[in-house]
């Protein structure tokens, strides 16, 4: 039964026959779990709260950072440093005090996933890494719950519903994750701030449709969105008869290991790394060495170390022939990941004196020159 307050609040739903009182009651009774309250989770959470989804669970363990605010509209400047889950709850509570919210302040893992997911009807995956995406998929397959999925990168988004009755799962589409390092993360590759708004609302739309049982759900279809071209495309997704979900072999595993992420990252040999302070000392002492910045030109424009030469990582293999193998090199990027790969490229080409500046220009800004902006 809807209260008088609810009738007033949801009147624009109630006057549409496709929702009506019955539909609004379904929304009120629904329990939806949002995993991640970042770029995708923000619009999903806000709109589902506004729509009157009765119980919304939130999973996140992160803290609001200033660099989140370009896209995570559920958090504001006043929330910097606050737990995302608390900041999200506050915004949702303000939008709609009539709904129930459950906060799960944990990193989802094989140990807790089934226990957390089991009480919800629909799961919305708004996470940002492959291990968690495989974990959510497998838990949804085991619990027989639809996983409303979306992911984003730069200007592109993907959305679909996995693990719905009779439909394909994430593993049917991608049996294995990419090896670490081959696909850049958002933190390295960037993301257009508006993109998760569009893609997150595709996700929210599918959640609402599943609850109402209305329209044609995005099951067995992968929707691709390209913001630059402003094009939507749709590809067919099939249940793979050889997939673990079809052969009944899904079980929760060690997803970090599955995705090739070492438990404790092996420290590189000391000789291969150099700290920003040591690099500064080399520059001040006018030591003979080449400082190569392997970031992209647009990152170089944000801030640079004055003596550095820009050679984006993708161009490095072609430029190797122009470099003197006998010279001393220090490579850096934003955080140290890409330049470590750049060091490998040079070493494989026979260069002997190649070092990676630990922590990249971000650490340079912290330790040497705060006037270089962090981004």
């Amino acid at each position: 039964m809807l209260t008088q307050e609810e009738v007033s609040r949801y009147s624009r739903h109630l006057i549409m026959p496709e929702v009506g009182v019955a539909g609004q009651e379904k929304l009120k009774a629904a329990k939806v779990l949002l995993i991640g309250t970042g770029g995708l989770g923000a619009p999903v959470a806000m709109y589902l709260a506004a729509a009157g989804v009765g119980t919304i669970g939130l999973v996140d363990f992160d803290v609001v950072d200033v660099s989140n605010l370009q896209r995570q509209v559920i958090h504001g400047t006043k929330d910097i440093g606050k737990k995302k889950i608390d900041s999200a709850e506050e915004t949702m509570r303000d939008i709609n005090p009539l709904i129930k919210m459950i906060k799960h302040e944990v990193a989802l893992s094989s140990a807790n996933a089934l226990e957390i997911l089991k009480d919800y009807d629909i799961i919305a995956d708004g996470t940002d890494n492959f291990p968690t995406r495989f974990l959510i998929n497998d838990a949804c397959v085991l619990l027989n719950k639809p996983n409303v999925y979306a992911s984003i990168f730069r200007f592109e988004g993907q959305a679909t519903i996995f693990a719905a009755e009779g439909g394909p799962c994430y593993r049917c589409l991608y049996p294995e994750p990419p090896p670490p390092g081959l696909v850049p993360s958002c933190a390295e590759g960037g993301v257009l701030g508006i993109l998760p708004g569009v893609v997150g609302l595709l996700q929210a739309t599918e959640v609402v449709k599943l609850i109402l049982g209305a329209g044609e759900p995005l099951i067995g279809r992968l929707l691709l969105y390209d913001a630059l071209a402003m094009k939507f495309r749709e590809l067919k997704l099939r249940k793979n008869p050889e997939c673990l979900c079809a052969t009944g072999q899904v079980k929760l595993i060690d997803y970090e290991q599955f995705c090739g992420i070492p438990k404790q990252p092996e420290p590189p040999p000391m000789s291969a790394e150099i700290s920003p302070k040591e690099v500064k000392a080399l520059i001040d002492a006018k030591e003979n060495f080449v400082l190569i910045d392997v970031r992209e030109p647009h990152e170089f424009q944000i801030g640079r170390i004055p003596t550095s030469t820009l050679i984006p990582l993708g161009d490095l293999p072609k430029k190797v022939a122009e470099l003197d193998p006998a010279a001393n090199y220090v490579l850096h990027c934003k955080m140290g990941g890409r330049s470590a790969k750049g060091c490998d490229v040079l070493r494989q080409a026979g260069f002997k004196n190649v070092r990676n500046m630990t922590g990249g220009i971000s650490a340079w800004s912290d330790q040497v020159d705060p006037s270089v902006p962090k981004y």
Binding site: D128, F130, I152, V183, S185, A187
Partner: protein, 92 residues
């Protein structure tokens, strides 16, 4: 000629192109022509055994080639081949 759509994460290996026109009568031939033109794409699309990597799917129009004739899937003029890698971003 068929059109191959290059997804954002792989454009850096294809001189920033978002689509490339290639010749070939099968998907395998078209992709071989693509990776001849852009050799850096090869290791991102194929593993050391020369098999398409399992986090990359290839579609002809809207159909996954795993459910057609895989590499031997015939293509006609005007077909669109999509390379669709898994992407994980969202919370970040």
């Amino acid at each position: 000629m068929a059109k191959i759509l290059i997804p954002t994460p792989l454009r850096q290996y294809a001189e920033k192109n978002n689509s490339v026109e290639v010749s070939g009568s099968t998907v395998g031939e078209a992709l071989a022509n693509l990776t001849t033109q852009f050799p850096d794409l090869r290791k991102n699309l194929y593993n050391d055994e020369g098999k398409l990597r399992s986090f990359v799917n290839v579609y002809v129009n809207d159909e996954d080639i795993r459910y057609l004739q895989k590499d031997a899937t015939a293509i006609a003029d005007g077909d669109t081949i999509s390379i669709v890698p898994s992407i994980a971003g969202g919370r970040c």
